[in-house]
């Protein structure tokens, strides 16, 4: 609109043009910039931004897919406070994240350190470690479920060799979550290993040489050189890992489907069940908003901590 008025109105246009000779060019450049961004932005807006905004609105309604979405105010959120299944899903999500994040960090960093050495066939081992990440989740779930099988599974048969009576794994309310975490760590450590490897390559060799000159042992070099130098990578990995863990869905859905009972029910799955199975989209949207806020708060805290360390 602004463009058309300024070009069609005869009197002020030249005057303004005279005052700011670069304005036209600037506008032109901006427009060109916008046209470059536009296709991507349109996709983002239609498929992500508008739906996300809609979720905030829907969370305040009792929408069941068809017809009007009756306004219910904060009812969905007060319902969440008294919903034992929601509490269970929230606790399970935190349980999963609490186990999965540190274990994956340690495993992927360990792998990265190991495969950052000059080893024969290091490229092969790096690829091998990355393999689980690019394998179909469905195949992973089927195979791991067979491995975990309480009676006929190789894992329990192996434990049996040492006289250990293995647990029921994915069929036991106590062991299902650790089993799922184990598969999650195994699957994702290769991906984060690559990120850590990239981080390790950027650490100047001189630092290690200086450390050695000063008589620092391997452990001291790791603790005082490697870890601090990896801080940006570590921060990025932690944030990505945290968000991924909080919204875990496919792994759970395929391995245990939330069972036995509700022992591995997580928030994303609860949202799916309430929305797409029970057609309670208003409430499902409210739980989505809760999950969104949880992710937001945790990530914000991580940013604050990171900034403090930086200063």
């Amino acid at each position: 609109m602004a463009t058309t008025t300024s070009t069609t109105a005869p009197a002020p246009a030249p005057a303004r043009g005279a005052r700011r000779p670069g304005a036209r060019l600037k506008r032109r450049n901006a427009l060109i910039g916008w046209t470059f961004v536009l296709p991507n932005f349109l996709g983002f807006a239609v498929l992500t931004l508008i739906p996300v905004i809609a979720v905030f609105y829907l969370s305040l309604t009792g929408w069941n897919v068809f017809g009007q979405a009756p306004w219910v105010g904060l009812d969905n959120f007060t319902r969440m406070l008294g919903d034992a299944s929601f509490h269970r899903a929230l606790l399970n999500t935190l349980y999963y994240s609490g186990l999965h994040i540190p274990l994956t960090l340690v495993a992927s960093l360990g792998l990265a350190l190991l495969l950052n050495q000059k080893l024969r066939g290091v490229a092969f081992f790096r690829t091998a470690a990355f393999f689980p990440y690019i394998t179909s989740m469905v195949a992973i779930a089927v195979v791991w479920n067979m491995l975990f099988s309480p009676e006929t599974g190789p894992i329990n048969q192996f434990l049996d060799l040492f006289g250990i009576d293995g647990p029921g794994w994915t069929t036991s309310a106590t062991w299902a979550m650790p089993a799922v975490v184990l598969v999650g760590v195994w699957r994702e450590m290769g991906y984060f290993m690559v990120l850590f490897l990239a981080g390790l390559q950027t650490i100047p060799r001189e630092l290690y040489e200086a450390g050695r000159m000063d008589g620092a042992g391997a452990w001291q070099r790791f603790w005082n050189i490697t870890l601090p130098s990896l801080r940006p990578t570590m921060f990025f990995v932690t944030v990505i890992l945290t968000i991924g863990s909080l919204k875990v869905l496919d792994l759970i859905l395929l391995l245990t489907d939330g069972g036995p009972g509700q022992s591995t029910l997580v928030l994303s799955q609860y949202i799916y069940k309430k929305g797409f199975v029970e057609n309670d989209f208003g409430y499902a949207s409210a739980v989505s908003v809760a999950l969104f806020l949880l992710c937001l708060v945790v990530t914000a805290v991580q940013f604050v901590i990171n900034r403090r360390r930086q200063d």
Binding site: V46, L47, T48, I50, P51, V52, A54, V55, L58, N64, V65, F66, G67, G82, D83, A84, S85, V142, N145, M146, F148, S149, P150, E151, T152, G153, G168, W169, T170, T171, S172, A173, I243, L246, K247, L249, D257, G258, G259, P260, G261, Q262, L265, L267, S268, I271, Y272, K273, G275, F276, V277, E278, N279, D280, F281, S285, S288, L291, F292, L296
Partner: protein
């Protein structure tokens, strides 16, 4: 963190874009033929739709029905999206009663009571599609759960065939005998909650999913766990972790008996014909009963499958759509369905004749009697709360069958959740 949000609201975006393209078409084209579309799930897994449509089109010059196919596993989700976007077909198949409740209460179905009034009493399962005294869909298929048994394995174990007078205790006893006497398991109970709860819900006097009182499930679970612990039936945990299929368990003679829905008859016939299943003699017996009082007309369960009319259908097409509905519930259609091993909602001697006329079908009297005489109750009551209750009952099932929670604790938790999440108090 974006994904669950996008998933939930994705439907909205799809709805917005698709609704722009949906327009109304004239009721009849130039040569006076009314075109109707019928929404169904994939015809590879459901050949009955193509059969019904072809037969109907062949005998009706003024109406042309065509199938609009949806993905089988995501049928309800996709249909829901299309309905809310105004892009759904004129008629659409009802796969489950719980989804039907959502469609009906959402005003997505046309009242077809006049079609239902015109049907004779041979059509079973109408009650599942009635709300507030009106009928909203017409059933054409009515599966029931029966007991499939392997006659060869019974012979090998030297055990008498079922005689139609079994209670669940008889069933458990025979299962134990067979697994002691042969390499096969006595029975296989598939991992679905309905494989146990469907019987308990319908055979126990006074049992009701909507009562919030689930103590009646206990004897059924005790029996199943005893079979599992006694080695007469594969563990639930083994079945889920190894993704066992019921087709392989029975078809490959790993188990001598299996309660299963009548849809498996067609599958078993086909798999025996092409060698996917072993070649053995089998038969149908009535579902075992809770006690002897119901042996005359054995109580079993099964959800009917029906077709409803989209409430947004063009007014000029309504009569043709209703004509199609009358046809699918007729004896002609039923005989055609029975010939390909599908259990029609319309039951008569001619239908039974056609059903057992197939190659490889059992020929014994009990199988026929099983097919013809039974009191099939709906698996799910028609109620908006049923989806929530089924989720709760599914969790109960996996908790008990995996033996990670005691029966009493799991039942108590389910009752608590029914009160908390569905507002049902016992």
């Amino acid at each position: 963190m974006k994904r669950p949000l996008t998933a939930t609201a994705g439907i909205l975006a799809v709805g917005l874009t698709v609704s722009a393209c949906g327009g109304s078409e004239p009721a009849a084209d130039a040569d006076g033929v009314v075109d109707l579309t019928l929404g169904t799930w994939a015809s590879t897994s459901a050949p009955e739709f193509q059969l019904l449509v072809d037969d109907f089109n062949a005998s009706h010059d003024d109406v042309e029905v065509s199938i609009q196919e949806y993905d089988t596993d995501n049928y309800e989700t996709q249909m829901t999206a299309d309905l809310s976007a105004g892009a759904a077909p004129d008629l659409y198949a009802q796969k489950t009663v719980s989804a039907f409740v959502t469609y009906q209460s959402g005003g997505q179905l046309l009242d077809v009571s006049d079609v239902a009034d015109g049907l004779d009493e041979h059509v079973a399962g109408l009650g599942s599609w009635q709300v507030d005294g009106s009928t909203w869909a017409v059933p054409f298929r009515q599966d029931s759960w029966f007991l499939f048994y392997n006659r060869d394995l019974f012979d090998a174990a030297g055990v008498d065939y079922p005689d139609g007078t079994w209670t669940w205790d008889d069933y458990a006893e025979v299962a134990q005998q067979i697994s002691d006497g042969t390499d096969a398991d006595g029975a296989y109970q598939h991992t679905w909650q309905s494989a146990l709860q469907g019987f308990a819900n319908n055979q126990t006097p006074g049992a009701d999913l909507l009562s919030g009182d689930y103590g009646y499930l206990k004897p059924y679970y005790e029996r199943a766990l005893a079979l599992q612990d006694g080695g007469a039936q594969v563990d639930y945990g083994t079945a889920t972790t190894n993704s066992l299929t019921y087709q392989a368990q029975f078809g490959k003679q790993k188990a001598a008996m299996m309660p299963m829905g009548s849809w498996y008859v067609a599958t078993l016939l086909a798999q025996q014909a092409d060698g996917e299943a072993d070649d053995f003699a089998w038969g149908l017996a009535p579902a075992p009963q809770l006690d002897e009082s119901t042996l005359d007309e054995p109580v079993t369960f099964g959800d009917p499958t029906s077709i409803g009319v989209n409430a947004a259908i063009d007014e000029g097409k309504v009569d043709a759509a209703k004509e199609f509905l009358s046809y699918v519930a007729s004896e002609d259609a039923a005989v055609a369905l029975a010939e390909i091993g599908i259990t029609p909602a319309y039951q008569s001697d001619a239908v039974t004749e056609a059903y057992f006329g197939a190659d490889g079908a059992p020929t014994d009297e009990l199988s026929r009697q099983t097919f013809q005489v039974h009191d099939t109750r709906p698996e799910n009551p028609v109620d908006p709360k049923i989806a929530t209750v089924q989720t709760i009952m599914g969790d109960l099932h996996s908790a008990v069958m995996s033996e990670s929670t005691s029966i009493d604790d799991a039942i108590a938790e389910a009752e608590q959740r029914a009160a908390n999440e569905a507002g049902i108090t016992g």
